[in-house]
């Protein structure tokens, strides 16, 4: 065994650890592969390191994944683009392993390298690799091959192109559904590189074969690529070749296929002109909105606003709106929730009159829904409708809905509504807020769930920001400070939290005059938890108030706490004192 000079020691260790028994150390070394390569130099990286890595293919999946990723950016370390092909060997092996994420990463890296390679190397090295994988014994190799064709194809000479197209056609009809799935999901990438004549003939043939596959999962992925494929075609070809398939799929036996159509339909509309949308896609979409399967209706309902945006308002009112009315009374709460999350967006599309006449009743009925998510989704998008018809029309129904949500027995629901309060305040204005909602905000401060109390404190901060310190002085501060006399220490703790958040918003003057005395007072509390929270709050207020106040009020208070019998109180007090010192030193 040789000895290595001291400065090289870390690299030497790094290299040795490529073969360590501990997986963490091997991973660490693989992640620093570029360092090792630089230490070895380009020549030895090509002649030794890469072959070494190629043999490393039975390592743990985590290590292989890291290796696949590193090799993708390894071109500079093997001597640049003209030597990039040496990287293909280890990656080819990784393309055949069983673990999907390793294979995916290896394919990704191969694509990265392939897109840099010289044309000649692509033809002589990359394309044969693709062909080898496509003819691989294990299905894993063939799955990987599908993702590489779009790199190999463009630079290939004419005969090779023909061959590649024919190989891809075979992959689309492979025995293994996994391979067909991969072929289906990569088809649009490959199609993007194929000349338009072949696109219309060969690729569309493959597409049609895949859309008639026995396996639902293959057909699903064929739908997924529809929109991307459609955009490659001329609108009239798209209407002739893709549209019938989609219309067919929208009536597929399998709900999962229909679900996928519902998700993709909007994208496909972009590829088609307005005429086929009106004659074919709109009826298909309406069918999906009325599908038997709730999952399909959920997907379709979620796209209702986007779909209306590409239609004329008349068509939307005539065809979509009746469905929306039905969906708002759907038996599945999830459908109603999906609808509620987007339906407000229809207001700007339909305009003021139609909104008041048609949409408003729907909003109101959703606001009274028995399922809290539905109501919450409506409230979260209030701003969209406010722009069109103003909030007054809604406010009558809004208030009961908010109050009910605010008192919901599930704390997550209460939490969600608190998070919308700043938005509501902004939309409803100060007047409405003061009358109706101010009380609720205070009530939450004394909720029995910590997360709610915490969110309530944050909410006060947002409100103070929204309406300004003067308003807060009148409407928040007095009520909040009253909590100081609460008998429950957790409530007093919430007060401290609120003060630490409000301080920076209210500014130095109000903090000193109103907030700080309360905090200092709380330092005499009998509960240690309150006392160390006082220490924490004081620390956070250092930056808010003047240096003089720090020295006059905060420091003495902290000094006193630092002599407290409780160890935690002393700890946080000392921390506070230290940060005072830091601030003093820096200023």
């Amino acid at each position: 065994m040789s000895t290595v000079e001291a400065p090289l020691y870390p690299i030497a260790v790094l290299i040795d650890e490529l073969k360590n028994d501990d997986i963490q150390l091997r991973l660490n070394s693989i992640r620093r592969l570029s360092t090792i390569a630089r230490a070895l130099g380009e020549d030895r990286t090509r002649s030794e390191l890469i072959p070494f890595l190629s043999e490393n293919n039975d390592d743990d999946d985590e290590v292989l994944l890291a290796m696949a990723e590193e090799l993708g950016v390894f071109v500079p370390y093997v001597g640049g683009v003209e030597h990039a092909h040496v990287l293909l060997t280890p990656l080819e092996t990784l393309c055949t392993v069983e673990e999907t994420c390793v294979r995916d990463k290896a394919v990704e890296s191969l694509c990265k390298i392939g897109s840099q390679m010289r044309e000649n190397d692509l033809i002589e090295r990359f394309t044969p690799l693709v062909k080898r994988l496509a003819a691989g014994e294990w299905f894993t190799a063939r799955v990987s091959a599908c993702g590489l064709f779009h790199i190999a194809y463009p630079s290939a000479p004419e005969t090779l192109k023909t061959e590649l197209r024919s190989i891809y056609g075979q992959l689309c009809q492979d025995d293994m559904p996994m391979v067909r799935r991969s072929a289906a999901s990569n088809l649009w990438k490959f199609a993007g590189t194929v000349e338009s004549a072949h696109l219309k003939a060969d690729i569309m043939q493959m597409f049609e074969d895949l859309t008639q596959d026995d396996q639902d999962t293959v057909r699903l992925l064929a739908v997924e690529g529809c929109a991307a494929l459609g955009k490659l075609l001329e609108p009239q070809d798209c209407a002739a070749r893709i549209l019938p398939v989609i219309v067919n799929f929208s009536q597929d036996k399998s709900w999962r296929v229909r679900y996928m159509v519902a998700n993709q339909l909007y994208e496909l509309c972009e590829a088609l002109g307005p005429e086929p949308i009106r004659t074919d896609l709109l009826p298909a979409y309406v069918r999906l909105l009325r599908d038997n399967e709730a999952e399909v209706r959920i997907a379709a309902a979620g796209k209702v606003t986007k779909f209306c945006q590409i239609l004329s308002p008349e068509l939307a009112i005539q065809h979509i709106l009746p469905c929306v009315k039905e969906l708002s009374l759907d038996s599945s709460q999830h459908v109603r929730a999906a609808l509620a999350s987007v339906v407000m967006g229809m207001a700007p599309v339909l305009g003021k009159d139609a909104t008041i006449e048609q949409l408003l009743p729907i909003f109101l009925s959703l606001l009274k829904d028995e399922f809290p998510d539905v109501r919450l989704n409506i409230i979260s998008k209030l701003d969209q409708v406010n722009q069109v018809i103003g909030i007054d029309l809604l406010s009558q129904s809004l208030l009961p809905a908010i109050v009910e949500l605010a008192e919901d027995r599930h704390w997550r629901v209460r939490l969600a509504i608190i998070e919308y309060i700043p938005l509501l305040a902004n939309q409803l204005g100060v007047g409405f807020f003061d009358d109706k909602l101010g009380g609720l905000c205070m009530q939450w401060l004394q909720d029995k769930v910590y997360s709610i109390r915490d969110a309530a404190a944050k909410n006060l901060k947002h409100l103070a920001e929204e309406f300004g310190p003067d308003w807060a002085m009148q409407h928040i501060i007095p009520q909040v400070l009253e909590i100081a006399n609460d008998s429950h220490y957790l409530h007093r703790m919430t007060l401290l939290r609120a003060i630490s958040l409000l301080g920076p918003v209210m500014g130095s003057e109000i903090t000193c005059s109103k907030l700080l005395p309360v905090v200092v007072n709380a330092s005499k509390d009998r509960v240690p938890n309150i006392k160390f929270n006082v220490a924490k709050v004081l620390q956070s207020l250092i930056s808010v108030v003047d240096q003089s106040v720090v020295e006059k009020t905060i420091r003495p208070c902290l000094v006193e706490l630092s002599e407290d019998p409780d160890v935690d109180v002393r700890y946080f007090a000392v921390q506070g004192l230290q940060s005072i010192d830091q601030v003093t030193m820096s200023s």
Binding site: M1, E5, P10, V13, L25, R32, A39, T100, W255
Partner: protein
């Protein structure tokens, strides 16, 4: 030449001749007077798709793999034999390959429940790259295993002296000196600051690796847990190669093999009020060809066929198979013995085989009025149902299997017996075999030797009539309810059966 070849030569044209079963192999044979450990009792058997591998699971949570040897080495020789048109007497032979601990006993602290390690089911997955992969499950947790040959390597020619490295290097050691810790912390980071010469550093070298041997390693790749409130009774792979289902008493969940933290509930038979519960799921299996179809059986003796395309929640079946009971024949035991313990699709996907306590039934999925065939497995037990109920034997869960060609079916019984029936049109084949080295021993006693059974209906039915309440059958054989043959599997391509008699794995061929 030996018997097998000779018999094949004289097989008559027309209906298939009853098979003459012969003992092939036994693994873990019980020696006389040997006490059986509970953990060694086999609880699952499964051939893989090609029939080249066999897996067993036991109550101790272990999975044992066997590999076929007769096709491994003699491929060339076999081809030569075939060329010579020479009758080959070749039957599947297996050898022990490896074993691993799949499940450990656990405790669910939230429910104060012990979860035993017993393997309930094993299912093979499509494998790639020379690795074997399978799913195994106990009552609660499904695991995905990959068994692969790993090279045991010896690493030498390290840059850092190995003796020194023990003290200095950041190798997993008990005592790492502070100085080396610094190196560890800097491990690769500092090296970025080095100005490395263009040609590289010649003194550094890569470790040399020499392969010593290869070793089989089982790795658990994924654990699918916390999705079942009740005990898992079945798992089944989908033909799409991407998903599988797991079924417990009340629910069936759908999983993606790659995703272990989420599953979709597709069947839920749990009533709103548990007091209304009358029926539980006993077994579930995917259709072998159509990825959207699955069948599940119930404790009330019905089989439901479900189409996953129809709806996300498959509470509505597309077909229901159940036999109308004969009026007036109801007794206290009717419901109990109707409970289906296992269902299997035939390879063609057209037929479903089901096993209830006393019979095997074969169903055609195109005919839901009743089974196309019913085979009495041990009808002579019918008068003894009361005793069987008393000692809980009536709740035993017997599995069933079909031959690869779909012409025969098999299932187990008590006293380590198992039965093979011909199910092709007009077949009267009904063989009783005993899981020991002399499987046909019973034949002489029960007068159901294949040669004679051709003319007469199954001898067993006759025997049942004469049986009295004691555990002694008409022929004076005592029946042992403790030695039950619950698990067996038919080789996918050949006439070969593997069955479990407590801790021993017996293999037969015909």
């Amino acid at each position: 030449m030996n018997n097998g070849g000779a018999e094949a030569a004289v097989a008559p044209v027309g209906g298939p001749q009853p098979l003459e079963w012969k003992f092939s192999q036994v693994f873990g044979e019980r020696t006389a007077g040997e006490e059986i450990q509970d953990v060694d009792i086999i609880s699952a058997i499964e051939f893989n798709r090609t029939g080249d591998h066999l897996a067993t699971g036991d109550r101790g949570g272990r999975v044992v793999l066997f590999e076929r040897t007769d096709t491994l080495d003699h491929v060339g020789q076999r081809r030569d034999l075939e060329k010579m048109d020479y009758p080959i007497n070749r039957h599947p032979l297996f050898r022990y390959k490896t074993e691993f601990q799949s499940h450990e006993p656990e405790f669910d602290y939230l429910k104060s429940l012990e979860i035993e390690e017993k393997i309930n089911k094993i299912r093979w997955c499509q494998s790639a790259y020379g690795a074997l992969s399978l799913l195994s499950t106990n009552d609660k947790t499904i695991k995905f295993w990959k068994v692969q040959e790993k090279q045991v390597k010896k690493v030498c020619d390290l840059n850092v002296d190995s003796t020194k490295a023990m003290g200095n290097g950041p190798i997993v050691g008990s005592s790492i000196s502070t100085s080396s810790k610094q190196y560890m912390a800097n491990g690769g980071c500092t090296s970025n600051d080095f100005s490395l010469p263009n040609g590289g550093l010649p003194s550094l070298r890569l470790p040399m690796v020499t392969t010593l041997e290869t070793k089989l390693m089982a790795r658990c790749r994924r654990i699918y847990s916390h999705a079942h409130d009740y005990h898992i009774n079945s798992i089944s792979n989908n033909s799409d190669g991407e998903t599988f289902i797991s079924a417990d008493d009340l629910r069936i969940n759908l999983w993606n093999l790659e995703i272990s933290n989420q599953s979709f509930n597709i069947v839920d038979v749990k009533p709103a009020n548990m007091e209304d519960l009358t029926e539980v799921i006993t077994s579930a299996e995917f259709h072998p060809i159509h990825c959207n179809m699955l069948a599940y059986s119930s404790s009330k003796g019905s089989i439901r066929l479900v189409d996953m395309r129809q709806s996300a929640l498959c509470d509505i079946h597309i077909k229901l198979f159940e036999e109308q009971e004969a009026p007036g024949s109801r007794s206290f035991f009717t419901d109990i013995i109707a409970s289906i313990s296992d269902i299997k699709f035939a390879k063609d996907g057209r037929h479903i085989l089901s096993r209830d306590y006393l019979t095997l039934k074969l169903w055609d999925i195109n005919m839901d009025s009743g089974p196309v065939a019913t085979f009495q497995v041990h009808e002579y037990l019918r008068p003894k149902l009361c005793d069987l109920y008393e000692n809980d034997s009536i709740f035993d869960k017997f599995e069933c299997c079909l031959s690869g060609d779909g012409l025969r079916v098999a299932t187990g019984s008590y006293s380590n017996l198992f039965r093979v029936f011909g199910c092709s049109e007009g077949s009267k084949e009904a063989t009783t075999l005993e899981a020991n080295k002399n499987p046909m021993r019973r034949q002489g006693l029960t007068a159901s030797r294949p040669s004679r059974s051709l003319g007469s209906p199954s001898g067993v039915v006759r025997r049942g009539k004469g049986a009295d309440n004691s555990a002694v059958d008409a022929n004076g054989n005592t029946f042992d309810f403790t030695t039950k043959l619950l698990h067996l599997a038919w080789h996918p391509t050949e006439n070969s059966i593997a069955c479990a008699a407590s801790n021993s794995l017996y293999m037969y061929y015909a």
